[in-house]
Structures are given as C-alpha cells and as structure tokens.
C-alpha cells in the first residue's frame, strides 16, 4: 500500500473504533431465582431494575429472606413514588422509533399495587402497622385510574387491611371495611378480631402474564393462567382459618381498561402501516413509470418516486409499535388473609392448599413454627404455595 495512504487508513480505523459500543451484558442465569435476580438487579439493564427487584423480593419472601425482600421493595417503591414529571426513557418509549419496552419498567397498575402490598406486609412484620397501612393506601391508589370507574380501587384486602390497622391503632376503620365489603366479588372479608395477634398473609396460584396482539403486536393483553390451588386453610392450635381468595390478580389486570400508552402504540401502528403502504405505492408507481416512460423527465420522476418509496419503507420498518410485555412473572393469582389469636409460646402452624374440589394438595402444605412472645407485637406471617417449608419465625 502506498505509504501516503497509511495515515488515512489509520484515521478511518480510529473513527470506526470510536463508533464501537460495548454491547449490553448478557445475563447468565444459574437456575437459582434469588441469585439470578440479584445478578440481574446489579448487572442487568437499568430499565429492568425495578422488574427484577419485584421478582427477587417475592422469591426472597417465599424463602423467608425478608431482609433481601425489604431492600428490593424499598428501592422499587421509592421509584414508584418518584414517577412524576419528564422521564427520558418514557419519552423514548413514546417515540415512533423506539419500543415501549425502552421505558424504565414499573409495571402495570396491578404490579405496582402488589409492590406496595408486599412492602406493607414487611412493614407490619417490623412492627410498623401505620407504615403498612400507608402502603396499602398507596396500593389502592395505583388502581384508581381504571377506564371503568366500577373497577377503580377495588382491591378487597387493601381496604380491609386499611380498616383493620386503623382499628388496631385506635381509629375508626369502618369506612374502609365498608369499601372492602362493597368491592368483594368472591368472598366477603370476615369481621376482624381486635384481639388477633397472628396475622397470616396467604397467596397462591399463578398470576397473570402479558402478551401482545394486533398486526404489529401493539395491543397489550393479559393471560390468566390456570391454577390448581383455589383456596387454603390455616391450621394452628386446634383452630382453622379459611384463607379464601379475596382478590384475584387476573381480574384486576383485565379490568383496568385501556391505557394512554395504548393510544400511543395504536398511532405508531397506524403510522407504520401508512408509511408501508405509501412506500409500496411509490415503489410500484416509480417502477411502472421507469418501465413505461422513456423521456428524461419521466425517468427522473420515476427515480424520485422509487427513492421516496424506499425512504417510506425504511421509516415504516423503523417504527416500533410493540407493546411492552415485561411481566412480574412470579406473582400469585389469589390473595388471602387470616387473623388468629394465639397464646404466648411456641406454635406450629400449617397452611393447606386446596383445589377447586376442596381437596388438600398435600405436596403443597407448608409448616411454620412460630414463637409468640409475652405481650409482644403482632406476629405477621407470609405463606405462599411456593414458600419453603418449614419456616422458623
């Protein structure tokens, strides 16, 4: 090569090297959901951080690792609370040429509600029922902007627990309890005992997942997954509490109605289709002109049409109307709660999960050994059909 050309080649290499970006780190999954979640939180894309915090916190709660759950939900809830105003990633998600999944994930309202719900349980475990109530109230607010107002803020347990805590703290929780009873579609929550000192949160089944439909996958949809578990029994010291489903997350996910973002995605889809059709018309028209007309002006016009058609096709291909289907995929389907009164001392509590026919699914039975202190605060227990067993509290 001519020596005089070396500087040019080097300069070209440098320019190209400058363009190189480090590709996003590919997450390696080990099969341990807690380790994988922790890894994803630390090393995954920042826009997915809250998603992984949600997932990991729930795994941790089911493994009785409440410190991890507390840390992850604290971080996720802090993000939920500071959502206002301009957000660069959200702006990108609304743009024609970026996918909705570019935005920082905070989840659909039912997912945000559940982040507050689980954070509330953890606050109550820590002896802070008023902060737990704050979470239940914020959770209910997350569900307040449904399209159909009938389905707004209609989580039975969130209102029930709001009333319960208010009553326990010496206030009047009657209004919240009335709202809970009015929202109850499956089971009405029971009259609560002011003397109850063991509060058992139970959930079971597989929560909803997301998928997209429409010509360009622009329509967000929810899939309700079948659940073998339909109810549960909490047994301790000769007493049995029915952990019937008060809230159904699939119902909550599917009754929210349309989102503002759905309109944005629909417009993106229309734009994509229109530019595609316009591109086709211009390409065919330009081709036809070139093939049939031989004058210089016609040839120029034909070429211009081809060029415009190509540009339109490129714009169409670059338009990304796909809905964001990232899902908090380890949520339960049903939420329940049982309050019991137990004497101080050690107790062994069993949670049996039942199928639709009311038969016990023995393989899922969980055991919790708990110590009730003398004159102590409420003992708050969380048990899922996916929890480890036995748990020592």
């Amino acid at each position: 090569m001519n020596r005089a050309r070396w500087p040019l080649v080097l300069a070209g290499c440098l320019v190209l090297a400058g363009c190189a970006t480090t590709p996003p780190t590919k997450l390696a999954f080990t099969g341990d959901p807690l380790a994988d979640g922790e890894n994803a939180i630390q090393n995954g894309p920042p826009r997915d951080r809250v998603l992984w915090e949600y997932r990991t916190a729930l795994v941790a709660m089911r493994q009785g690792k409440y410190d991890i759950a507390r840390r992850d939900l604290e971080s996720a809830v802090a993000r939920l609370m500071n959502l206002y105003g301009p957000d660069k990633s959200a702006k990108e998600a609304r743009s024609l040429f970026k996918a909705e999944a570019r935005k920082t994930f905070i989840g659909e309202p039912y997912e945000r509600v559940m982040a507050y719900y689980y954070r509330g349980i953890l606050y109550w475990m820590d002896g802070e029922p008023d902060n737990a109530r704050a979470c239940f109230r914020s959770g209910q607010l997350m569900d307040s902007d449904t399209e159909e107002k009938t389905y707004a803020s209609d989580y039975v347990l969130l209102d029930y627990l709001d009333g319960y805590v208010t009553d326990r703290l010496g206030g009047d929780g009657a209004d919240a309890i009335k709202r809970a009873e009015a929202s109850a579609k499956m089971w009405k929550p029971p009259q609560f005992s002011s003397n109850a000192n063991v509060l058992v949160f139970v959930d079971y089944g597989a929560g909803p997942t997301k998928f997209a439909t429409g010509e360009h996958a622009q329509e967000l949809r929810f899939r309700c997954n079948p659940s073998s578990v339909r109810s549960a029994l909490v047994k301790v010291a000769g007493a049995t509490g029915k952990a019937v489903p008060y809230d159904d997350l699939c119902f909550q996910a599917t009754t929210r109605g349309g989102r503002v973002m759905d309109h944005v995605l629909a417009n993106k889809a229309v734009f994509k289709k229109t530019t595609d059709v316009a591109g086709n018309v211009a390409l065919i028209g330009g081709g036809a002109v070139l093939a049939t007309q031989h004058s210089r002006d016609a040839q120029i016009a034909g070429m211009a049409m081809l060029g415009a058609g190509l540009i339109s096709k490129v714009i169409s291909a670059s338009t990304v109307p796909e809905a964001d289907i990232r899902t908090w995929d380890n949520l339960p389907a049903y939420l329940s709660f049982v309050a019991l009164e137990l004497a101080p001392g050690q107790h062994t509590l069993q949670v049996e999960f039942l199928n639709e026919a009311g038969q016990v699914l023995n393989a899922l039975t969980k055991t919790v050994v708990l110590q009730i202190p003398e004159g102590g605060r409420d003992k708050v227990i969380y048990v899922s059909d996916k929890s480890i067993t036995p748990q020592m509290l």
Partner: protein, 191 residues
C-alpha cells in the same frame, strides 16, 4: 457518522453526585414527604415550642419524652426522623431551656444500671438510688394525608400536627401544624 449512532448504554459515564442542601428541592421529586418538607416543618415546630410559656417561663428545664409520630398518610416514612430533628434543634438552639429523656435507649440504660448495681462496673453515685427521671411532657405528632388522583395528575396534601402533652394532667399545652400540598403527573408512558 449517522450510522455510528448506537442504542447501547445510555449515559455510560453516569451522573456525578450533586450535593444539595437538606431544605432544597432536588430534581428527583415525588408528592410525598421529602427532606425540604422535613426541614421546614421541624424548624417551624422547634421555634414554636420555645414560645410556649410553660417552657419559656419554667424555673427548671422541663423534661420531655418523644412519643413516636403516627403516620396516617399514604406514604411510608421513617417516623422518628421528625421528632429527632425537632429535639435536635431544641437541644442545640434552646440553650438548655428543655431537656429530653433518652427513652429510646431504655434497655441499654437499664442494663448499664443493673451492671452498676451488681458491682460489675464502677459507679460515680449510689446505683441503688432511683435516678431515672420521669417526663414532664410528651412531644408527639401525627401526619395525615388527603390524596386526589385524576386524569390531570395526583395531588397530595399532608397535614403535620405536633403536640406537647403535660404528662401529669394530660393537658395539651402546645400544638402547632404545618401543611404542604404537592401535585404531579407521570409521563403518558406510565398511564
């Protein structure tokens, strides 16, 4: 060059740490309780308490115990932080006009006294004499909220109420309030 544009790592160098004053509203905002609210509310309360005649005219500095604030809002908060700041302000600026009892360290203090009584550690006075003091007043408070959510956004009003209660008579000798309202609207991508 346009072809070089990548959608890889955004803001790869990160954002440098910005130091803000505690009473300054940062760029990260929510409609809940923030540090500037805490500073404004507790400053107001500390000033107000010093004007209470039972404190201003007391022959001996009144002894105050902090009773945890009640949170009735929709925002989970560290409730102790309000009373910590009010008491901190009073201790540092009231020149001994009030004194606070460390009831939140009760177990540690009791253990220390027990060690002294058992002779396991030295004591500068007779450890069998009861020297733990009782409260003249309780300082406590309550946070209440009102939330409205509509298509135009979310509005949160928080009423911060604090009281000084006479431990002997249960009379509320001082009460003051502060109120803060905020509103915001999230990006359409989240609605």
């Amino acid at each position: 060059m346009t072809g070089c544009a990548s959608s890889g790592v955004r803001n790869p160098s990160g954002t440098p740490v910005t130091e803000l004053k505690a009473d300054e509203a940062g760029t990260v905002r929510g409609t809940g309780v923030e540090s500037q609210d805490l500073v404004a509310v507790t400053d107001k309360m500390a000033r107000s308490i010093l004007n209470v005649k039972q404190i201003a005219n007391a022959q001996n500095p009144p002894l105050i115990v902090l009773d945890p604030v009640r949170n009735e809002t929709r925002f989970p908060i560290n409730k102790d932080i309000f009373l910590s700041r009010i008491s901190g302000q009073l201790i540092s600026k009231a020149q001994g006009k009030v004194q606070f009892l460390a009831r939140d360290r009760w177990e540690t203090l009791q253990k220390e006294r027990e060690l002294k009584r058992q002779g396991q550690v030295t004591a500068s006075s007779d450890p069998t004499v009861q020297e733990f003091k009782g409260a003249d007043y309780f300082l406590t408070g309550k946070l209440q909220g009102l939330t409205v959510k509509a298509a135009a956004g979310t509005s949160d009003y928080i009423l911060y109420s604090f009281e000084l209660i006479d431990a002997r008579t249960t009379v509320i000798v001082w009460a003051d309030q502060a109120e803060i309202k905020k509103q915001g609207l999230e990006d359409a991508a989240y609605r």
